[in-house]
């Protein structure tokens, strides 16, 4: 496997979606190539950082309105 093929397979590899033969070639290349090992690690790092992006909150007035709507929602179901 060449590096330019490797970089296009990282997502399928991380999803466990490579067929057994391609997965074996992928691992073999990974073991031999420092550049691709680093590339994969940087993709992992990117994914890890994405998981820590802060989110916005619902605006206070929107939250209040939804809670009011919930309070007034008709027909509580019988358990």
């Amino acid at each position: 496997m060449n590096c330019d093929e490797f970089v296009e397979l990282v997502t399928a590899y991380l999803d466990g979606a490579l067929d057994a033969h391609t997965a074996a070639r992928f691992i073999e290349h990974l073991a031999a190539c420092d550049g691709c090992e680093r590339y994969l690690e940087q993709i992992r790092h990117t994914v890890g950082e994405l998981h820590h992006l802060p989110g916005d909150s619902l605006a206070g007035h929107a939250r209040d309105r939804l809670l009011a709507a919930f309070r007034d929602w008709p027909g509580a179901a019988a358990p």
Binding site: C3, D4, Y39, I43, L50, H51, L58, A62, L67, G75
Partner: protein, 215 residues
Amino acid sequence: MPDVELPADAVIVARLRARDEAMFAALLDAWSPGMLRVARAYVGDEHAAQDVVQEAWLGVLRGIDDFESRASLRTWTYRILVNRAMSRGSRDARVIPASALTLTAEDYAPTVDPARFRGSDDPYPGHWRSHPERWPTPESELLARETRRYLAAALEQLPARQRIVVTLRDVEGYSSEQVCEILAVSAANQRVLLHRGRAALRAALEEHFTQEVPA
């Protein structure tokens, strides 16, 4: 972002049906930030995203008494969200048409600049000309925050379809199966979009890290 501690779906649903306001408030606070992020990938601005998320929660209220636990409650909620966001997106003329998640030849183009690899006249064609540079480990919380701000901006710049899939998979942490269920796409197609999005964001971080940082 990981969920704060919420009870199991069955408990949440029972409490919502019993009109337990504290339960609804907890759910609003836990899920709205992620929902806003997904909505932002569909609609033009923050204000529209807030509207879409509100509409989605009203949809949850309308549907909760009939909710059947075939999907998880969160997946079901996100499906409502995506439907609202799509119709809002088309009203805003920032259209993500239903066909948008269909792939074109462009989606299969290389995700790493081919110039980074050796040419066919080289003894090692297809191998790195020079390896990707090592990234610094952030020395301070300030630098880590700066990197995340940069990454958030890069995510906003992605084409909408990539942004939607990356947001669901990597920011929100949904599995491939759940994303396919929410977006009604095949596993292979969502993976192509995820792959392009991740590669573009890695490249953006690389640019960020290899720029000279002013001391």
